[in-house]
Amino acid sequence: MGFLTDYFFIKAFIALLFTGLACGIIGTWVYLLNIPFVGVAMAHAAFAGAILGLSVGINPVLSAALLCVASSFFIGPAAEKGGFSPNIFMGILFSFMLALAFLLIAKTGISSYEALSLMWGNVLIVSVKDIYFLAAVTFVIFAFFLVFKKWITAVVYDREVALACGIPEKFIFYSLLILCALTVSFNIRTVGGLLIYGLITIPPAAASRFANNLSSLYVLSSIFSVFSCAAGLFASYFFDLPVGASVIIIASVIFALSFLLKKMIAGKQ
């Protein structure tokens, strides 16, 4: 039971608890709005932002947040209806961000180990300050959710209908994007810029197999997400595996199980 007194382990556990909660809720919004590519585009923007931060010598988490939030103002209009497929635009944005990151890595002498750690994350080395960021964004997400629940429901149900009945749809939609941007970038050191996308996408997808109302979708998605984080951390601790990758593999296993289980339930009926 050495892990109970292990400072690094406890710190990592607390950080991942916030990560799991935040991703469970954010992921549900991304799933309901049917904009999965937003996660990918943002993950890469956060990665490029963090590299940028390292190369000019400011806190990479902050620079990641800046670039990520800025990118939501490009992603938002692209996700509007009309024009060409938003997914194509997101694909372009994500390639651009990745190219930008590689360019910076090549030109500024950032070690590839350091760069990689931003992609895969390493929650065992998160700082207490990082945990504060995570706690703060998780708190804001829940507060926003509680206060604006009715409006959020209308927007994720149908953006056009929400707008037509006088709900401030733009405010809600952009707030959701910005909260997503903050969650992704503040997790660049926990699960990592690339893997965080999986944690946003997979738990709500698994939850949607069972949820028959909106509340159960939020709750199940959060449970799956927190469980993946906790189990991923234990797996990494006991089997000496990278945390971020373990978290995503466990989330994927939950998804696969949800499929099988649902099939079995359906088969019995």
């Binding site: 009715k150 056009e160 209908v161 707008l163 006088g166 109302n213 909106l214 159960s216």
Partner: protein, 218 residues
């Protein structure tokens, strides 16, 4: 006062002029039908008047500029309702959205609101599926959700974009009866797009035709 007053309205979509210098006055409490061939811009006009589309010109709803008006006075029944929805809301909850919009953020959903929603479900003929998920119903049923949602919103002016499309014969008749009853009960202004000129309510006084980006009375 006019329910809607439109001056020199033009709408351009990706460089193409869809509506050009539309001038139109819709009297309070009137029932107006808009018709026209496919692709002439009927839906674009409806969306514009519901504040969902950028435009140039002036639009006043109930005497106030559309951009400043309280949107909950406008009811919108979109064309082609999506039935494949990912959001696990029940029909009851989806209809309640209209009530939430009316009530604002802070007011709790009361006993009375519940009654209003149940009543709207009943008159729209979807009471029997009130607990079904919105993703698991047919296109025609989803059309009725839109109508019920607008009823509970209690708007002053309603825009319906081909509300009868996709309804079966029986439902079409029901729909006409429903509009008639609602129209008489709530005395709202109604603007409806339809291709089906045989199926318009008797109290409709004005039929407009949209052609070549312009509107004319028939």
């Amino acid at each position: 006062m006019f329910a809607a007053e439109i001056k020199n309205l033009s709408v351009v979509l990706s460089g193409k002029t869809i509506l050009k210098n539309i001038n139109l006055k819709i009297e309070d409490g009137s029932f107006t039908v808009i018709t026209g061939a496919n692709g002439t811009g009927k839906s674009t006009l409806i969306k514009t008047l519901c504040g969902l589309q950028k435009y140039s010109g002036a639009v006043k709803i109930l005497g106030r500029d559309l951009k400043k008006t309280d949107r909950s006075v406008i009811g919108y029944v979109p064309q082609n309702n999506v039935s494949e929805r990912t959001c696990p809301l029940s029909v009851f909850e989806a209809v309640s959205i209209g009530r939430h919009a009316k009530n604002g953020l802070l007011k709790k959903f009361s006993e009375k609101d519940g009654k209003i929603v149940r009543n709207a479900l009943k008159i729209s003929g979807i009471e029997n599926i009130k607990d079904s998920l919105v993703g698991k119903i047919s296109g025609g049923q989803s059309q009725k959700i839109s109508i019920a949602r607008v009823i509970v919103q209690r708007p002053r002016i309603i825009f319906l974009d081909e509300p009868q499309a996709g309804l079966d014969m029986e439902s079409k008749k029901d729909f006409l009866n429903l509009t008639e009853r609602l129209y008489k009960k709530f005395k709202f202004t109604c603007v409806m797009v339809t291709h089906d000129l045989d199926d318009i309510p008797s109290f409709c006084k004005k039929i407009l035709k949209l052609e070549n980006s312009e509107i004319s009375e028939t």
